[in-house]
């Protein structure tokens, strides 16, 4: 009898210890341990070493072109910066704040002469899961004048990821809607079940963001009043990007989860983007990730946990200053 009892208690202890260790490993793997890390710098260096020149017609070649064009364009221009605007020969940015249904909304109206100035930045200049930095840190690293958080691709192991012309991940996420930015600056919402990442690359895509859903397409709202991101059925901080016309973009970030700003539903966000004149608009990662940085300053009130604090993210969308 006693022997059986003893056996049982050892079994119980062994089970508890094993499950606790396994759970700890699973959570560390999901949230902490960096995985599949690719250095964006190494990608660029490989291109130069492999081709001797920037453009060899491959995706990697595009990385060099995008970055080179961006740095060329930002040189030798007269720059005027105020608290809520930035003007250079190639870039005009105006930041406005508005209140929409009890939520504070920050709108960055962007006019670019060269679409290659719309870029993506990666945390630690590397692609990989659990490689994170705050939006303002990444913005500072890349010298962005305006930055918003990206799609936080590192939190998922599927969904196309292309940044500055380089295809980092081509694993589709089923019915996932992506935002594609082509080399001429055109934005398009695609469904991963309809087209492969390689086909998009061949068509001239330079950026693919996989969060979603798409908010506006052809000027029409494409989300329903009750649509939400996964399980969330509530108002939240949001980040969205959209295109009004050639070279004319808009980035929107809303505060949420605070007494001062409730946050927007996807439909409300889509309505804001439509009202701003977007022909295409797309929802990026929201919640605690939602951050807008202008001229080195975080201008919204990002919520991380229960305080006003920036959350570390995988990537940003930014305008080269």
């Amino acid at each position: 009898m006693r022997k059986k009892e003893k056996k049982r208690s050892w079994w119980g202890i062994a089970t508890a210890v094993t499950l606790a260790a396994y759970s700890a490993f699973t959570l560390l793997d999901a949230f902490v341990i960096p995985k599949n890390v690719i250095s964006a710098e190494a990608v660029t260096q490989t291109v130069y070493a492999g081709t001797g020149e920037e453009d060899d017609g491959t995706a990697s070649g595009s990385v060099s072109n995008v970055e080179k064009n961006a740095s060329d364009s930002s040189n030798d221009s007269e720059i005027v910066i105020t608290d809520n605007s930035y003007t250079s020969d190639d870039v005009e940015i105006t930041i406005t704040e508005m209140t929409v249904d009890d939520s504070r909304v920050y709108v960055a109206d962007i006019q670019l002469s060269d679409p290659s100035l719309l870029l993506s930045g990666l945390a630690d200049n590397s692609f990989g899961q659990n490689v994170t930095e705050t939006t303002s840190e990444i913005a500072s690293d890349v010298g962005a004048i305006l930055a918003i958080n990206g799609d936080f691709y590192g939190f998922r192991d599927s969904g196309y990821v292309m940044r500055n012309g380089y295809l980092y991940r081509s694993t589709g996420g089923g019915d996932q809607e992506d935002l594609v930015v082509y080399s001429d600056g055109t934005m398009e919402i695609i469904n991963e079940s309809d087209v492969t990442a390689e086909e998009l690359q061949a068509a001239g895509a330079t950026q693919i963001y996989s969060f979603g859903p798409g908010l506006v397409d052809d000027g029409e709202i494409i989300v329903g009043p009750n649509d939400e991101v996964d399980q969330a059925m509530t108002s939240n901080p949001r980040t969205a990007i959209g295109q009004i016309s050639d070279g004319h973009y808009v980035c929107v970030v809303s505060d949420g989860r605070t007494n001062e700003s409730e946050g927007l539903t996807l439909y409300q966000l889509a309505s804001v983007m439509q009202d701003l004149g977007c022909t295409v608009a797309y929802n990026l990662d929201g919640g605690g990730s939602s951050t807008m940085v202008f001229n080195g300053e975080v201008i919204n009130n990002p919520t991380s946990g229960h305080g006003i604090k920036e959350r570390s993210v995988s990537d940003i969308v930014y305008i080269q200053g």
Binding site: T26, V229, T234
Partner: protein
Amino acid sequence: MSTYRDKFIKYLAVSVFCLLIYLVYNHFSHGVHSPYMTYLFAWPLILGALPSLLLTIRERAFRRHACASKTAARRQDEPVIAAGLYRTGLAAVTVSSLLRGILEIAGTSSVYQSRLMWVGAGLMVIGGVSWMLARRSRSKNIIYSKRPNVQ
């Protein structure tokens, strides 16, 4: 030796604990929900407390109609390994559900979580089937034997 009534109470306590985990986590999840977290308490309740309750009722009914020695024999003949496998499987499934809830609320997923769920489900099936087979064969022994194997 714990009775099925004791096990019922323990599983009920685990279910309440799971409900508390959900309530605390829900407070900090900004209205983001996962059914795996919301219904976490259902695993120990349905797959632990409910079978224990049924076995308690059955045991009491058996006790009314049989002699005490046979009841004691049934208790002692609990298939330990099969029951242990089932309990381990149930614990794995419950922990896996908790992990999935945490991951879903955060907006991510993990292959390790789904593996744990499958392993847990497998252990439960193996344990449950072995338990039933063992009980059936031992019940036959008790019924047909003139001298039950009581120590």
